[in-house]
């Protein structure tokens, strides 16, 4: 049994003329939060889809929880909790119907998780009324919160959360971060967090990797970045921005957020 939840070897993906992912060697330890950072188009989502067996790598190997996904992509199906980048739910169904659909699809009994769900609803300020009106009638933040619940309620050992706090107000983003922390600290789950929000890295990540134009330009403990560049400083943010080469949203106190 490996200590790594995810290990990729020279993972590459070519789309016609575009090399979206180029020789990436990810190492995500079990029971930790790994933040995969990078600007739009850096290859985060493509990498995630290859980890989930949804895309076939052009080259390289993917191992998730001792399953060789490259050789046997079917074996990974249903074993990873997923929050896609864009809220993916049935807009004509209610949030409750969407949640129950995901639970049934993953063979999780509603009764078994009803207390956990109630806690999530309370924490994320999801009211009974919201749960019973069409998903399309909810605000963007509410939709994102429901999508987050749909991803984490499936009790998967490994969770992939693509931009979990994107589009959320400050309060909801804070609650989501606290839930993510609890999932790791109390339940021992492993989380791959894809984000371009620096505060997600600061508050949550144990490890991080930075993707730039499909290449993994940095991988290591969060402290390594923080020790190199003192947090809450211009240098820290500049280092991240330099890596991304595009402006990123800052959540560092006292700084103007830029997109």
């Amino acid at each position: 049994m490996s200590d790594l939840m995810v290990e990729t070897q020279q993972l590459s993906k070519q789309f016609k003329l575009l090399l979206a992912v180029d020789g990436v060697n990810l190492k995500i330890p079990k029971g930790k939060i790994y933040a995969l950072l990078g600007p739009n188009g850096a290859g985060k989502t493509t990498s995630i889809r290859m980890l989930l067996g949804l895309l076939k790598p052009t080259f390289g190997r993917v191992i998730v929880n001792d399953i060789d996904v490259t050789l046997n992509p079917k074996a990974i199906r249903g074993k990873v909790g997923l929050l896609p980048q864009v809220s993916a739910a049935y807009y004509d169904l209610t949030p409750m119907q969407n949640i129950k659909f995901i639970l049934e699809l993953n063979d999780v009994s509603y009764e078994k998780v009803s207390q956990t769900l109630a806690n999530y609803f309370q924490t994320l300020e999801i009211t009974h009324e919201m749960l019973n009106k069409p998903f399309s009638k909810l605000s963007g933040g509410e939709q994102r919160s429901i999508s987050f619940i749909m991803a984490v309620i499936t009790n998967k050992e490994f969770l992939v959360l693509d931009e979990p706090t994107s589009g959320l107000d400050i309060a909801r983003a804070k609650y989501i971060r606290s839930i993510i922390k609890n999932l790791v600290e109390e339940e021992g789950r492993t989380i791959l967090l894809s984000s371009h929000i620096v505060s997600d890295l600061e508050e949550l990540a144990d490890y991080c990797g930075i993707l730039k134009q499909g290449k993994l330009v940095f991988q290591g403990k969060k402290e390594e970045i923080i020790n190199t560049y003192a947090p809450d400083t211009q240098e820290f943010e500049d280092a991240i921005i330099a890596a991304f080469e595009t402006p990123i949203k800052s959540s560092i106190p006292g700084k103007e957020g830029s997109q």
Binding site: F15, R49, L52, L54, L55, K74, R77, G78, V80, L82, P84, V86, S87, A88, A89, Y90, Y91, D92, L93, Q97, F101, I102, E104, L105, N106, D107, T154
Partner: protein
């Protein structure tokens, strides 16, 4: 993964797909549309026009030259074979001129043989019966009855042997004579298959994968479902429900309109032309089963194209392919109900149609085995290609 778990996922996917089908906006379109359309297009005009009947047989009960009522004898024999067949309307004709000037297709038997006075032989006439809505086999039966009646009734009379004049007759190979049941079923079945596919083509876009791509739910479905073929099967079953619901709505629309118009209506099967006087319950079940099978092929064909093409192209092209094949099948069946041609034999809808006719006529041959094998193989292939299609990169990437 256990089979139980797999079945449970299919059940969950099906529940979700059916729930999406029965949501208000889609239900009105899929189930309400055909009712309103048929009510307006077919039902209301029937208020202003009389029902059409088809004329088939013309006999005279004039005793004429022979003094024997051969017309009644033939009719008696005919109704023995085709009891309660309301589709055959008997008209009376007294001479050859009346036959010549009629526009009807069918078999004309001037039973009094008045023509003998001029021709010297008893004669009956077939006016291109193969173009009738009724099959050749009915006419073959009638001809054999006519010959038999003439031979027995006129046996003791000194009348020359029967001389048969055929006006544009079709030569019918023996193997195509599938019997009266197949003859009664041929047109209704081809119509039923075409109708089911035509009604289905409009509703597919609201239940197919194009919608999942638009909602961006494909990623979730692919990540969580153990067998991706379950996604295809669930959509196919939902499509069947939608299409059968649309058809029922279509039938109800006609019934409602005919009730208002006061026209006689003897049952749902009459709408499709299914003659319960000839066909029994088993025949009707076989008919419906193979019509539904043709519909399933149409759905999976649409899905295979839909899932293998990018979103915009798939929404436009996939229904056209299915309906195009259905049209080729239908027009082929209408022009030659019981014959096979190369063009028809490569059409999967024809396979369903042909097996149904063969089964109902009781002709259990290798042909049935070949067509059923082809149908099963095609269904498997279409599920395979649809499943492969939804796993393609373009499903997730191309918008």
């Amino acid at each position: 993964m256990s089979k139980k778990k797999g079945a449970s996922q299919l059940k969950t996917l099906l529940k979700k797909d059916l729930r999406l089908l029965f949501r208000k906006k889609v239900a009105i379109f899929v189930f309400g549309g055909p009712f309103i359309m048929m009510f307006l297009l077919i039902g209301l005009p029937s208020l202003f026009s009389s029902q059409q009947t088809s004329s088939l047989l013309i006999c005279s009960d004039d005793l004429g030259y022979t003094g024997a009522n051969i017309g009644d004898s033939i009719l008696g024999n005919l109704t023995y074979y085709f009891l309660s067949d309301s589709t055959i309307e008997v008209e009376v004709v007294a001479n050859l001129s009346a036959v010549t000037y009629t526009d009807e297709f069918g078999l004309y038997i001037p039973s009094n043989f008045s023509e003998l006075a001029f021709l010297g032989v008893p004669t009956y006439y077939i006016v291109d019966a193969t173009q009738s809505l009724f099959s050749e086999s009915i006419f073959a039966t009638i001809r054999s009855i006519a010959n038999s009646v003439i031979a027995t009734t006129l046996a003791n009379r000194t009348i020359p042997p029967v001389n048969q004049d055929e006006v544009a007759p079709a030569s019918i190979p023996e193997e195509l004579l599938l019997g009266p049941k197949a003859a009664a079923l041929a047109m209704p079945l081809s119509y039923m298959i075409f109708l089911l596919i035509a009604l289905n083509s409009g509703s597919y876009s609201s239940i197919g994968f194009a919608r999942e791509k638009r909602m961006r739910t494909m990623e979730i479905l692919l990540a969580y479902s153990h067998r991706h073929s379950d996604l295809v099967i669930s959509k196919a079953i939902t499509g069947l429900v939608a299409s059968l619901g649309s058809t029922l709505s279509y039938v109800l629309g006609i019934i409602a309109a005919t009730q208002i118009s006061g026209a006689s209506f003897s049952g749902i099967f009459e709408i499709f032309g299914l003659n319960l006087g000839v066909l029994n319950a088993g025949d009707i079940i076989v008919t419906i089963l193979f019509a539904v099978l043709a519909l399933l092929i149409s759905l999976l064909l649409t899905m295979a194209i839909d899932s293998n093409l990018a979103r915009e192209a798939s929404e436009r092209i996939s229904p056209l392919v299915s309906i195009g094949l259905a049209m080729f099948f239908y027009f082929g069946a209408v022009s030659n109900p019981l014959s096979s041609s190369t063009a028809s034999m490569i059409n999967p809808f024809y396979w369903c149609y042909r097996v149904s006719l063969l089964l109902i006529s009781g002709k259990f041959s290798i042909e049935i085995v070949i067509y059923i094998s082809l149908i099963i193989a095609l269904l498997g292939l279409l599920i395979f290609f649809s499943t492969r299609g939804i796993q393609k990169e373009k499903t997730l990437y191309l918008e």
